[in-house]
Symmetry: C2
Subunit: 403 residues, 2 copies
């Protein structure tokens, strides 16, 4: 298991390098102007959704009351597939998920409403919700493509070759967090990434304003389910997914910055973190959202109350299973404190000293926090520390007072 995982790390790095080099040529100013045009608000299409809903009614009445399976399902999983309605041919409309395949039949678009249990005490969606929605729409995209074999987005060709998807890198930028009840349009598409990888991008827009709330990109590679080693992409699988590739980037990244490795001397350390049964996903790994929760929970409460996460980059190194014990480490960039308006004006002689220096004090509220942090989750097994995921987060002041 140890050797397989160290291979995974090696291969994963190669894959990230490939992906950066193959995409590098397409980035820069030209790329940027192209992306702005494509990703702009003009892209919002309520009429299209209306038309799709109209189509969906006819479909839902005529077809969707019966399962859309066009081939007999494999024995044993038949009942499950019927209950799920997993199509075996490409669909252009999913009425129940309010989803469409658009743009030459390859880009996935879904409309959804932020649910009450997806927001925090301030009625605003969290980064965890954003990550959940990215996962959800990615899987629904594969679902509608007719390629979904089983499990976590694996295609028929991948299942035949015993392969699963593994994410090697993820970058999420949030301009604005959606609020409870807000209607969102989420777009996602895939592209090539080096010889053996796949890139997946997302845009989340508020339907009322058409503004882009979230931009995200990710890189995926294939892992053999049995050996746990990374795999080349078989031609059969490339044949399945390549027709879906779009050459467009949701985030204009400069040359990909490498995240430094932290050690236990970092400023914030949480040890002995143990995954619970409810933290496991359909692949029986600790899910991505739990990773991010562990990362962010090392930060002081007072910082979290005043700031919101505007960007997160994750570099995945190793799987984490249900019996692992995890350590979460975090180090601020001390030089990332923003120049601010002169706060000394409000600290006048009217304030008692204990208000300024005490617990939950004004001084705490006025403290100038770093806005950039480096993170590491690692496994603890004796003296050995295997890296699970490295992270970089960027924060901004909340615009209103947190409750």
């Amino acid at each position: 298991m140890a050797s397989a995982s160290s291979c995974a790390i090696r291969c994963s790095r190669v894959s990230i390098r490939c992906s950066a080099s193959s995409e590098g040529g397409g980035q820069g100013p030209h790329r940027s102007s192209n992306a702005v045009r494509v990703n702009g608000a003009a892209h919002r299409a309520p009429l299209q959704v209306g038309a799709a809903l109209e189509t969906s009614i006819n479909r839902s009445l005529a077809e969707l009351s019966a399962p859309v399976l066009t081939q007999p399902p494999p024995a044993g999983v038949g009942e499950e597939r019927v209950r799920q309605n997993i199509p075996t041919e490409k669909q252009t409309v999913d009425p129940f998920r309010q989803a469409l395949i658009v743009e030459g039949g390859v880009r996935y678009q879904q409309t959804l409403v932020v649910r009450s249990y997806e927001v925090g005490p301030d009625k605003t969606a969290t980064m965890e919700t954003v990550l959940n929605l990215l996962q959800e729409t990615a899987l629904n995209h594969v679902w509608m493509s007719g390629l979904l074999g089983d499990g976590f987005g694996a295609t028929h060709g991948m299942i035949k070759n015993n392969l699963i998807w593994v994410v090697s890198r993820m970058h999420v930028q949030v301009d604005q967090y959606p609020i409870w009840g807000e209607v969102l349009d989420i777009d996602t598409w895939v592209g090539s990434s080096g010889k053996n990888g796949m890139r997946r991008d997302w845009l989340i827009r508020g339907r009322n304003s058409g503004e882009i709330f979230v931009r995200a990109t990710s890189t995926w590679v294939m892992m053999n389910k049995v050996t746990r080693r990374l795999s080349k992409m078989p031609e059969e699988v490339r044949g399945e997914i390549a027709p879906w590739f779009i050459d467009r980037h949701a985030i204009e990244e400069e040359a990909t910055e490498k995240i430094i490795k932290l050690d236990s001397n970092a400023k914030y350390v949480d040890s002995d973190l143990k995954p619970k049964r409810s933290d496991l996903d359909m692949n029986h790994h600790v899910n991505n959202v739990k990773y991010v929760r562990w990362m962010l929970e090392t930060l002081p409460d007072q910082f979290l109350q005043q700031h919101q996460l505007s960007s997160i980059i994750l570099e995945y190194r190793k799987e984490c299973g249900s019996s692992d014990v995890v350590q979460s480490i975090c180090q601020p960039d001390e030089d990332s404190i923003l120049p601010q308006e002169n706060v000394s004006m409000v600290i006048g002689p009217l304030l008692l000293p204990e208000l300024i220096t005490g617990h939950h004090s004004l001084a705490g509220a006025l403290q100038q926090w770093p806005t950039k942090y480096t993170h590491l989750l690692q496994l603890k097994a004796g003296d050995k520390h295997d890296e699970i995921v490295r992270g970089r987060t960027t924060w901004k002041k909340k615009s209103h007072k947190a409750p």
Copy 2:
């Protein structure tokens, strides 16, 4: 705070008694046959949903691209309400949530799809997901009624009187857990419960089969937001909500069984549980789902792998805030072990003794577990133990092998 909470307990008990007595007359065989008729599969209405979607297209194009506010929103919350589209008049269709108001304009019905992040490793929704969906549809019901003032389902009249909803009892019965991608129809409605309470019921059906997966009922009372004391229902609020009352029960309960109080001598005890920021809901309390997670996590993994929760009853006593430290206590009903087929047949001489008695052993797998458990969450503050919530759970063997 202590006196307010003890009042809450007293009042809550009164409310539960009232509710039981006022509902008792309506139950029994007559009630039962009525409920079966109303709650049966014939009730499933895909055509209605189709028609609603059709209506919704016209609405969404003509009206819903603009906010549905018909009165100017209060200053300061205007932008938020526009982003959320909270109606100030009763709506009969919510196209984005795929929801309708049916049955004489009072019952709420929503169609939704189980999302990938709402299922566990076995691709099956958990009790936590079920509870989330109950909360979600209840709030959406108030949302569509045009009564939603702000916060967690409080009406305009409640906000004027500084009141919030508090749940005093909840009972959820699960016949079948929905699976990833399954389309569900959820119905919810409210009724009276004693003089000062409200009852809310739910039915969750699988759209493909029309089978009822989940039945749930709950009792709600009003609490003053400032004093934290339970309150009578003001006439103004009764005037708002009484026109929505339906006299029908999703669960046919016998006389409500009282849940006994446990102490720390119980078989399973988890101490020092601390809520995290992400566990708080819009009311700044630890949310219901977290309570249930704490309750169930005291049970042994091996039991949880082999069994699924088929019923849970919760009796709420006291609020739990973000700085509280909680203890979760659980006691099995030793006499609730089900008579099973004779398992000695498979424990033959071919099996090594260590397989039978070791850790993760066959004996463990064959162990006959109790199927009924009593639970208690309590606050720990010195020698004093304030009860947060009592629970009763009933379990059944999973029909297929857990992964």
